[in-house]
Symmetry: D2
Subunit: 504 residues, 4 copies
């Protein structure tokens, strides 16, 4: 049932892990959702619908914790929300009018089942469950201190640090303990917690990760994106603000700002890739921003061509914007299969030399003999781009002009996006011309950083006070990176055994 081969001792290591050579997309680790004040048996059902709408933020594991008559019920599964929580017996399995949930991109195989959220602790003052999207930049530092004090860790997740900080706070009330805990963490986070009587939501001081508030009749809803509110049928109330702590209980909703206020810096990658196009993030339509990115890209990097072809699905709105701006016809020149086929083996013969294309298939009828402008949302390592370019070429394209709807990615992320290390990032290691040759295209263009800011409707970037989190493009990290500083300071941690008290 449970095997744990402790090959991965340091979460820094596994975070950099980059699994599928054919799958060259950055990955986000989580979506969160919570409801408070629903009908008695509805908490988990509503959260399940919300998590389903957030499935694009993580497909490998999910969990829900509900509270009924001051008692907690939890289930955590590998796989999709629909498979785990679609059943008609959900209200029996997870009763209660309040529930929180989490869907995640699990970072590795079965052994990491204990990292599935929500996580739970039984405090002196009652239980608390927590769902976390983001990443703490001082996780290892805090973990080392806590273990030194006798804490026993059950997972390799940074979310567990927050639980231990809450458990060890000397404050009496749970909200004070929670604020005590988040006062010590650094990084990017959106948190949804459930105690016996309250739901608590919080967003990091810079609002790096998103979190929105909605209303469903008398009930309150918290979710990573507005698309979850739409699916649930809830009304959007407002974004949770950067640095805000929201407490919901039978007395209503309270908004706390326990720390000094700072200007927000939301993460640009939510617009470039992560959020669903029908979501409105920090007041901006994701679909609208992406189309604008395409339009500006057309102005910055035009090309003489016959068709504009998106790399589906994330490249579609930018390609539509590019086509509208440039007047070059938009065509579905690449068909995406939505059935998983990652693990296919390659036959020894034939197929190999032409590249096995399991996810994207060129649509020869609109490519053959054409000059093609290919629009992708971003280029990370370039490994899949080059395969796709070859496939499009093999389908008869005369010329291929590749355009990235986001700027060159030069630096890794430490706030919850799973990206390869710097030496694997194409743009960090090659000049534009080297990239063009590597990608085997006739021309190559990236949206500029200022162009991206313009697409966001935020004028050019203010270098002294950047309006957004954009370090992957600029190297300007919005917070201290304590774990990384310690590591680079030569005080390298010996590979340490992680706790496995319970290894699912």
């Amino acid at each position: 049932m449970s095997r744990t081969a402790h090959a991965i001792a340091d979460p820094v290591v596994h975070r950099a892990h980059w699994r599928d050579p054919e799958d060259d997309q950055p990955r986000l680790e989580c979506g969160v959702c919570g409801v408070w004040g629903a009908a008695d048996t509805d908490g988990a059902s509503i959260v399940a619908l919300g998590l389903h709408a957030l499935q694009h933020r993580g497909q490998e594991a999910c969990g829900i914790a509900s509270v009924h008559q001051a008692r907690f019920h939890t289930e955590r599964h590998q796989g999709l929300v629909g498979d785990a929580f679609g059943g008609s017996d959900l209200s029996q399995r997870l009763p209660g009018s309040a529930a929180i949930g989490h869907t995640r991109y699990s970072t590795a195989g079965g052994g990491f089942a204990r990292n599935i959220q929500p996580m739970f602790a039984d405090l002196d003052s009652g239980g608390i469950a927590i769902a976390h999207n983001g990443n703490l930049t001082n996780f290892h530092h805090l973990r080392k201190i806590l273990v030194g004090e006798g804490a026993i860790f059950q997972s390799t997740s940074d979310s567990e640090v927050i639980l231990h900080l809450i458990a060890r706070s000397r404050k009496a009330k749970i909200v004070d303990r929670f604020i005590d805990a988040i006062g010590r963490i650094e990084g990017g986070y959106a948190l949804v917690c459930q105690t016996r009587s309250k739901m608590i939501g919080a967003r990091d001081p810079l609002g790096i990760r998103p979190l929105v508030l909605g209303r469903l009749g008398e009930a309150w809803v918290l979710a990573s994106e507005t698309c979850a509110l739409d699916t649930i049928g809830a009304e959007f109330v407002r974004d949770v603000e950067n640095g805000e702590v929201i407490v919901i209980d039978h007395e209503g909703l309270k908004s706390l700002k326990p720390f000094p206020e700072r200007p927000a810096r939301p993460c640009l990658f939510e617009y470039v890739y992560f959020s669903r196009p029908d979501s409105v993030v920090n007041g901006r339509s994701v679909y609208g921003v992406r189309k604008a990115m395409g339009r500006i890209l057309a102005r910055e990097h035009p090309a003489e061509a016959d068709v504009v072809v998106p790399v589906p699905d994330s490249g579609v709105p930018a390609a539509m914007g590019f086509a509208q701006e440039s007047g070059v016809p938009y065509e579905m020149g690449i068909i995406r299969s939505h059935y998983l086929g990652r693990t296919f083996i390659q036959p020894s013969q034939g197929a190999r030399q032409k590249g096995v294309r399991m996810k994207h298939s060129p649509n020869r009828s609109v490519i053959e003999g054409k000059r093609v402008i290919l629009i992708d949302d971003s280029i990370v390592r370039g490994t899949t781009s080059v395969k796709l370019v070859r496939a499009v070429r093999a389908a008869g394209a005369k010329e291929i002009h590749l355009r990235s709807a986001s700027p060159p990615i030069l630096y890794p992320d430490f706030y919850g996006i799973d990206m390869p290390s710097r030496d694997q990032l194409l743009a960090a290691n090659k000049s534009l011309e080297e990239m063009r040759q590597y990608l085997e295209v006739d021309s190559l263009g990236f949206l500029s950083v200022d162009g991206l800011y313009e697409a966001m409707g935020a004028g050019p970037r203010d270098p002294r006070h950047p309006q957004f989190t954009d370090h992957y493009f600029t190297g300007d990290y919005p917070t201290r990176l304590l774990d990384r500083e310690i590591e680079e300071g030569g005080r390298e941690e010996a590979a340490r055994q992680l706790s496995l008290l319970v290894s699912a």
Copy 2:
């Protein structure tokens, strides 16, 4: 492991079964693929790639049978091809240079595992495996005769009839026995068979179901659609012709036409819905036909509007054609989730009144305050259309003009398409105005039958010799429907127990 509650005794009954009220698409029951003459360990791997490309033709079960040194190896699974046959040990599990495979929309729960193909029989002259896409219209008639002669049936699949006919043929050679057998069956079929030394392909006399021939180096490939050849890396050679039997062995490829030749009548629904847009079916690009359908639809049923919005994914090309023809801007006004969520329960509160939309989400930013032309590929029962219309209305659409890129569906199919019975078909039971009111739209239009023929590049329909199979629109069935005639003739079969010698 194996339970069989024989609640479904008559395949006619279960073929009409229509599972998910939210899922109002016709379903096709199968895709087939075979390879002969590959490298020794490659047969199954190539077929697995081909089946993956054909996954849209059936997602619920799949199987592969390979031949190695005159010995057969088979595996049959529920679920996706990638899950079943993606593993790196496939060439050990299913060795051989020749293999055939099948992917299907399984018609019911676990009890029908014994219907998964390829099916196999151990004849006096050696084994034969068979993969079948289509449906026989004289299945029950033949089955009754065979059981009367002492045949023991192991499945409820009409494909097994073919095996029994082959087994009982008095001919000596396997190809003659095969021709003997298909001489007795009626309906629509594409067959791929494997004997110890030959691969046999066949298409029904009218070419209702598609089958193409390709070449991968020295090896021959048969597949339902060209997209499978593209994924495998094989070159398209030609369509298998209607009524043609192709025999491939170490002496090469032989084409037989054992029966009187008749003009072909390929199924139009392959273009309307089933085939993948990047496939070329009977010489026509599916994507191109669909765009043409949209263009003609725009001419037949124009509307004053602000945006053209497709119902994704199948409505996209027609919507693009409609937008190009009409000049109304094309926008992604509906976002499709590709994560399964069919079985979600509905919370008692809030969500229900607005309709639970798990698969399609309106993109409010492009819909709000707009007059919307909504393009769907077809309208079957209308149940999901009305939900979608309501959702689009709730997202702020001022007007909704629904257009179907295919004619009204008036009659059920008996050639391998899973459609509801006539009393459930919207267009068969309501006038246009009644449909418009039922669907709650401001205007409603269907592509005409002649318009569809025009989109196919085949001029208007010739009523005496229709160029295509189109009975769902016209009631003009291309073959005799023997089972149905017997049933309607009052000689109704008593509900009969099906064989369960092996019930998986």
Copy 3:
């Protein structure tokens, strides 16, 4: 779900398969049970209890088929009866007042799931399910004829031959068809069949395999052994007679003797090893016979010793009889673990040199320093005996006198007992003194054939008309062995592919 690597083409081959070197017991392939006329929801529950009591006759797979309102319901599972059919929902899963069941020692891995019984056929005249204990000696001969006539086989089980013979009989009535079919088979069998309205039981012309009839209120019960009747709570009525066909329906019980009558020759191994000690087989208490075997063994092969120690569990009654007769104290000198441990790997160190003893552990406190008489029920290959002897020696035994409570096994069985081939039978290949040395014992003795007949209360063996089936000791096979004659006649079957139309 279903994989079939057709490595085993010829059941003759797999019958000789002998899996576990540590497990040197002959195996019986089946137990059968049926009930007719119980309360409506009780059929399957009663049969499940009966199969549980017969679990010693086969632990690897089991199945039940019930009939409710002329409709059949079946489930077939790998594993124990309690796991498969213990659930409280059984009467929903398998409704009906009539049911038959089967438990078997499955001969190989997952691929043979299709051999699990009851098997079923849908005849022209209605369905029939069959459960079979025994083995047909003309199976391959019949199978070849049937395949030549176009029959498609779904399993490698000889039981399926019977179904095909029934299906092809030209008789109109099901009982006549059944008699037609068993008139063509040879070998040893106990059959329990279920049609829509009748239960049929039959025993082979010599009564080799056992079958008893019982009454449970108004209902009739058929079972392999009386212990099943006891567990069910049914009263023993009588043994089904050799060559008898029993038909039970709403008109009551009919006994048919369709073939010329012959004297019975029940199988002696039922008494030596297979039947449960609390069963009464053909009128004799198994426990009583075993004790008598021990008493006679003590007279035939006495030894000066301190303790009589059985090899548990099957050697216990004989050891008790030996101790009573000899006056040497009986002690539990070997403890048997009932937890499975067959597949344990051996550590490289320590344990190996002393022999890994997973099933039998010497009880040092009663062995150390003692002269031990060790009583086993039989010696097949001797491989486990020698390990056990060494373990007893290592526990401090001064002398070991091994006694077998049955005669030397010299010939293989073809009537349903899974035994190694002749070249692996210890007694068939060594003299008594060679065996003694091989087994590393101080003395060795076997019960004589006449001694065994005496223990059966049947006087000495009558060589012209032996009272029992005893070929394993004497070479005197009670029937023709047609398959074997054909094979030995040089007309060796080419390894033939078996049917896998449905491979569970």
Copy 4:
């Protein structure tokens, strides 16, 4: 994958849980085994063999933790040791020359997977794994203190308290931290722990639970019983002493006695029921003690009868002793099925009135018409005894004289034996005559406490300094019962939510 319905909040509650009305045996919760200094790949294999031999101490879950190059590897499974750890890849899965393991009677369904041992903590000074047999009588008291200090519990097992105490000790060295921790716990325990470089064994101050030391070549072995040493092939060295801490590392074996010495009081139930008959516990052969119990019982409660019949398997040695002492013949009058059948449903008819007997079947041939002395090892609630008595009566016994080979059970246990609460103990609620009537026997007798002491070879009980733990018979608990005192003191704990950070 993981569901946790937190219905059971208080371990006191679930410990008293008593599942199967037909299964009226006390249950022991654990067996432990460890090895240090084996060949590199042998640690886990040796421990697996040892656990297999200890399988009678717990069949529902098992786990092994090995150490290889200062790194821990663990697996924990539900089910039998042979199923979980029998595979040939064990040395790859769990490498290392040192390993510890645990087998347990899991107290409830899947939700308690997180209670499976060994448990593990990642301390500042390195990891530690722990396997525990026994029960702490101040568990809730300590848990409450630890949670108040911020500890987060992951299981409901008292073993986790020990880990937290070790984690929070202020001592620097792991052995000192371990001693610190066990200095705070009370109750009965045998512990085997593994650190990166040491194996530690410990037994509670009174030696209630057993633990033995063995040698396998150069390696050291710790195990609950000597039968594990025998199976492994290790030599018995000595019992670990009460209150002893044994530390094994590359410097060899050290014995520590950190606490004031007290006379040992081993648990009598190890002899009555738990230990395997071939084990030698605290210097006494379990088999020998049980036979002596039978002999003394025959003197204390003789009966005029025809046969002595044991309730197998645990009643067998006492019945043999009784028969030898009394001269009444010993017979296997009850046959035990070793196939699980606990969950069988009862048919509505027939069977019920006679009682469904799944585990024990009367052997009519030795019972019918006889006066039977029935010997059981103990009588707990009497529920299965009465069923058995009825079955024996139904099989024709003229008289039944029931004898218990242990004294009346009057008080529950708190040291690791799962017994029902006092109000369910037959002898605690009825007089001898009432019991006789309830059990429907002709006479009833229990071994006296002094008789049991005599069977142990320890003369009569010394009431001031009892030589053994015997509170179940006498009410004389050997330690303080702090949790129980707190509970009874009216300061009843509100049902508290248990931690579920990881719920397997």
